[in-house]
């Protein structure tokens, strides 16, 4: 049951999007988020949406895969939508019991939900077309300017990639410990919240012990292979911009200009 959790899942395929430099994709995702939230009318909204569909088409990732990410947050979307609908003041459209729905509320709820859905689909496109390693490399490189203010960019990128490497291992380990404690009669399913939390102790203590043990082993293994922080490190696959990336940047800039010109006119 724990194996079903997928995190930052990558969809292997050959597409323009897959071959783009991760920095381009990070930048375009950022632009996408900004424009999505500054789109305040239906036309701008449609513009962002159409662009997104075009990019999805380019990615060669099946659409069902994108939507899959939404399933886990349906509840959250519904709650957020309802709050917006009922708690925004404005001209009352209709009401029942203690709730009243205003025109502004209805509009806000619609925008809000649509934004969330598009946001998740759009950002999942980043993880679907970029391997975790490329992603951390891209982050490290594009956040490089932060090193000047002594922000540990390399260390954080390294931590991220190690975390991604060990998540599947720890999930498997959790499964194993759970089974072992169940074999000793432990019960992880029944009981109230407090009882359930208490029952987690036999799972969590061994899990933390194991994580610490692995961390210690790993630190020795890294040191033994001459790891000494980011200073003086080279890369087997250094990030290099290609002409494709340049064209992508031009497209992004064109998109920004069109968007804001349109926004100013409307």
């Amino acid at each position: 049951m724990l194996r079903e959790i997928t995190l930052g899942q990558y969809y292997p395929a050959k597409s323009v999007l897959h071959t783009l430099d991760p920095r381009v994709k990070l930048f375009s995702t950022l632009i996408f988020i900004i424009t999505l939230f500054s789109a305040n009318n239906a036309i701008l909204f449609a513009f962002v949406l159409i662009t997104l569909f075009g990019i999805i088409k380019l990615s060669h990732v099946p659409f069902s895969f994108m939507v899959r990410g939404l399933r886990s947050i349906v509840v959250l979307l519904v709650i957020a939508g309802l709050f917006n609908m009922f708690l925004t003041p404005g001209k009352e459209l209709f009401s029942f019991w203690i709730f009243s729905v205003s025109d502004v509320g209805l509009k806000n709820a619609a925008y809000m939900t649509a934004r969330m859905v598009i946001l998740i689909v759009g950002t999942s496109l980043l993880t679907l077309t970029t391997t975790p390693n490329q992603l951390t490399d891209g982050l490290e490189k594009s956040m490089g300017f932060l090193k000047k203010i002594r922000f540990p960019v390399h260390e954080i990128a390294m931590m991220m990639s190690i975390a991604l490497r060990f998540i599947p291992i720890l999930i498997e380990e959790t499964d194993k410990i759970m089974k072992a404690q169940m074999a000793r009669g432990a019960d992880f399913e029944t009981g109230g919240l407090i009882k359930k939390a208490k029952n987690m102790v036999p799972l969590l203590v061994p899990l933390f012990m194991s994580a610490f043990r692995r961390a210690l082993d790993l630190s020795y293994a890294m040191e033994a292979r001459c790891y000494n922080g980011g200073e003086g490190r080279t890369k087997m696959r250094p990030l290099k911009y290609s002409s494709l990336d340049q064209r992508a940047y031009i497209c992004i800039v064109a998109f920004i200009i069109v968007f804001y010109v349109a926004k100013g006119l409307l």
């Binding site: 190690i162 490497r165 000793r184 009669g185 001459c226 087997m236």
Partner: protein
Amino acid sequence: MSIIRAKELVHEYIRRDDEGNIEGIEVALDHVNLNVELGQFISVLGHNGSGKSTFAKHINALLTPSEGTLFVDGMNTSDDEFTFAVRQTAGMVFQNPDNQIIASVVDEDVAFGPENIGVPTDEIIKRVEKSLKMVGMYKYKSHSPNKLSGGQKQRVAIAGVMAMEPKCIILDEPTAMLDPDGRKDVLQAVHTLNKEKGITVILITHYMEEVVDSDYVFVMEKGKVCMEGKPREIFKDVEALKSHSLDVPQVTLLAYELRKAGLPLPECILTRKELVAALKDLRVANASAAALAKPVKQAVKAKATADNVLILDHVSYKYSPDTAYEIKALDDVSLSIKEGEFIGIIGHTGSGKSTLVQHLNGLIKATEGGIYYRGQDIYDNDYDIKDLRTQVGMVFQYPEHQLFETTVFKDVQFGPKNQGLDEKEQIKRAYEALGLVGLPQDLYLASPFELSGGQKRRAAIAGVIAMKPAVLILDEPTAGLDPKGRDDILGLISDMHKKRGDTVILVSHSMEDVANYVDRIIVMDGGKPAFDGTPKEVFAHYKELESMGLAAPQVTYVMNDLKEEGFAVDVDVTTVEEAKQEILSVIN
């Protein structure tokens, strides 16, 4: 030319209390002197806690001497200036395959070392390719390490060290967590590096068979080098090795026992070939003996027919059914297990043995087929699966990793508590179980995390026994233990079986472990039982076993070789003692 030279090397682990005062000093290395020449294949033996791993970390400058000096390729490891040069010269491979792979893709992991020391990009690509080819892992270069077997992961780790172009490679129990197939592949890779590339190898191990081919052996005990010499000189002294909690390869032990029984064999035989050749010489000298008739075969002791405690009826199990990733882990398995049987389930990793046993207490539910415990269908809606779990106790692999309570005693109480027994009974059960596993009483109230490896394992086993299961399943109970720890645990399981008369199922990939103890062996292969019978019956198929990535005990091979050479021996022996009797009866 000397590559590693230790002079009066001392390492002390200093324990301090909260205020920083010294609480205790543990001497892990005690005035070690040794010298390793460039290009040698060195083995270091010693039981757990003998200081061998501490020594390995010194060669890599992960630890530095408290006293004395250690030179690696002429560099003093205590000198900070040389730390990285030392690590580059003497690379290190660790025991746990998972915990030393840093990247999520094989080739990126191999590149980690060269990247750290600032090798230019094109050179890294060349080195990664070369190193992966050396260990035969090149075709896996774009794989995720999570999809590889333990042996493959270790070979990736070796490639990761080789990509730094070291002169020397230190392997700290690289095979302890692997199955026989993985062990073979890793050792072969290491031997190739030594022979073809002239890399100095320092292999730390407690598998005696791995030591036989090395140039020189050091045996460590209590932080000291207590024996050293060529393998032949070391294994000559069986008694001394035993006193250091070690053992010798089965063939050597058999030859030693035969010599003790009066056969004029040469001292210290290391391989099967040598033993067979020596026995052949003996036969020529003693021609009349071979003419002797074959002794009457001992009747196999028949067990009284008992009731079936567990029945598996056409059980199949699929992982991720109806998806592209569907794996058939069990394929139409039908078995019956009798009350009081001592069964060994053997198979290589992925053969379905662990999946099989997890069905027996309902942790995994079969996708097809039925399982009956004492005649009751465990998949019935009103069947109490929690009760089944107390009836069929299960000790997982590395059970010590499940300990969680503040004291050993409380941890053992956990099972009985979940059974809903009253406090008095819980305490009684825990007390009995701890007595059965032979844990010293002064440890009952210690934190389980303070115990030694072997003690932790005992405590964890007690945690299951305390539930008084009628069937006890142990999944690889000896994994990662040294020879003495292994013998102790197996002896303990066997004793408990005799005392309690319960049904015991031992899952293992070591034939030698199992052969000495169990009455029945089930060999799993490809999700099906391939053989099922007494050890003798099963090991008669030693050639088929080999094709499944398993191996019969060494003595079985010796006897078959002897038979081929025309000795009138019975080939169905499985233990050293039986082999000795058989050979003696034929020769004399």
